[in-house]
Assembly symmetry: C2
Homo-oligomer: 403 residues x 2
Amino acid sequence: MQASAGGSGERLGAARPKQFCALQGRPLVSHTARALERISWISDIIVVVSLEHIETMKSIIQKYGHKRITVVEGGVTRHRSIFNGLKIFAENKLSNCPLQKPEVVIIHDAVRPFIEEDILLKVVKAAKDHGAAGAIRPLVSTVVASSADGCLDHSLERARYRASEMPQAFLFDIIYQAYHQCNDYDLDYGTECLHLALKYCKTKAKLIEGSPDLWKVTYKRDLYAAESIIKDNLSQQVCVITDMKGDAVQVGFLLHETLKSHIKQVKRISVSLCKDDNYMQNIILGQCYNFICMHVKKSAFQETQLVDILENANISTLYPVVLISVHLNVSENASFSSEMEDLNRIKEFAREVKKKNILVYGLLIHYNKDDPQLQETVNSAATIISALIKDRNPELIGQLLVA
Amino acid sequence: MQASAGGSGERLGAARPKQFCALQGRPLVSHTARALERISWISDIIVVVSLEHIETMKSIIQKYGHKRITVVEGGVTRHRSIFNGLKIFAENKLSNCPLQKPEVVIIHDAVRPFIEEDILLKVVKAAKDHGAAGAIRPLVSTVVASSADGCLDHSLERARYRASEMPQAFLFDIIYQAYHQCNDYDLDYGTECLHLALKYCKTKAKLIEGSPDLWKVTYKRDLYAAESIIKDNLSQQVCVITDMKGDAVQVGFLLHETLKSHIKQVKRISVSLCKDDNYMQNIILGQCYNFICMHVKKSAFQETQLVDILENANISTLYPVVLISVHLNVSENASFSSEMEDLNRIKEFAREVKKKNILVYGLLIHYNKDDPQLQETVNSAATIISALIKDRNPELIGQLLVA
């Protein structure tokens, strides 16, 4: 199985190739690699990059702990790069890493990070049946052909055509043979692997209708969209860790209930369970990237403990984790300078754990059990928490917000 | 000149048609209408909407003060809607609003809000010369045709084809004649106006290479992208209003200088100039949507005055305005409860002016003129200000952040 990561990013107008642009702090190619490597039946992932980016790619693999990835030097065109990737299996050049020739090979773009297992399964199954298969999407715009003078020659009937997207899958022998037989013109000017399989192996690829998620990050606006989608995905789940006693239990309960109308999945656990490694491991395996520590001031449970747990589980390696420290303030007589001290403590702590990709914010809830506006305060707290989780703004870490 | 706003939004997966989805609180169609109406040589804008959305559209026109717009009922397909729009000029149905038949008509989509004057000029000029013209873009994906069994029939050579985008422009008589002559099949299944002009009037449209901004908001990710682009555009300029005396002048100057490395255009004016209506009018006409009021505590200048100025100028009708109230704190002995009172004051004020689409945030800078870390504090302030402006988060209004 193979993923191609060629391309120079010139359309994006970015200084670096688009596959190396950061989304939530991590290069796009790493997001795509992650999407592929979490699928257990993909045995090997080949990333093809130009010579100048091989070291960058290797350091990305190391930094984010990618597995089963082999980096291969690309060619000057898309087809030449893919061909280089395929050769690894056929020619076994890498003496220290003999990859077995696969039955089926998937070809994918590094700039399509939102690839799901179901479409991969569909193209692989179809490739086994038909020799080749590829994802398609309806055309968004009409396609036109121009004459030599830059005027309309004819337009295509939109319904009869499709956009060819990725992933595509092939019986290895078919696509490898196609690349071996094709000429320099194909290698230099062609872009479509399905076309090569048709032309040189008479293999008519099965076309599989894919989801809109398959789109290719091409322009700057696509980076914006991808960033928003990732943030959206990360903000679906929150884990509330409470250490509430007496009256405060009520606020904890209220906040938990109110959060449910803002965030899809709200888990609530008590501090004692936090110390149970298995329990926390489950939460973390559930891909939770948002934690709320809720306690009356000077609680026994320290956010530092949670940070240790998160760090040991490598949870913040792939995505920034949001940690909101919610303080219930019951006294109103604290001096401003002692309050400032607390604030400085949060700021320093936030700055420290930012290095571990954990974003810490403080939230103060003034609590008076007889307050008729308690629900309103809790609503405000839930709104702020939800906004912090959805924004994941690294510049506002260490701030103490007030509900 | 005409803008079409048909389409049902089914591809977006949204509850309402995509042209009515909100971007920074305002419907997409209003952003597109604004882009067209600010161009003085466009005499009339026709918005075509389905019967059920006519009232919605009319209320949008009123709410956002759009000018030169006529709402027309659409048909069941794209072509029928456009035809309805064109009929307004030819048949003068509206007795109370006799629109003059134009020489050239522009056809545009409501879901392409980032339309610029230069491409409009180019297609209009080309339409005068050639009878028809349309914007095109390179294809992002290869286009394939499938055979009856869902397999690849052939793929098109990507370089020979282009995506047909909007805007398009036509000599009115040509496009109107084309619509009059075309058959029901065209009206029901066709999508391409350039094709009609070619087929029925033998007019070969000039194809004009457009910018990536012309893309069509089609999927949810496109809404995310559009939102980010608008935020990006809004955060290019900030106006710093200072009322600094004595030592504080130094901090004002430092902050102003530091902000320049975060925000493209930083204007600085003193409070006295604020009271000069002409001066403020210039700032506002310069499309500034971000204001920082900087003063030592208990200043004579109140943010309320600025809000009045903004309100009178209707500046926050089209986009939310960010107003950051920066307090220089020189004393450290204020009690916590008095500090809380200040916070509550900001919160209430923020809640109040939110109704006017003005987003207020507080920022506290602790200032001691001999502090060796002053530059660091100012850096922190600039980072927070820049983050608030870029995020424009309505849920964090009224918070008092600390640099």
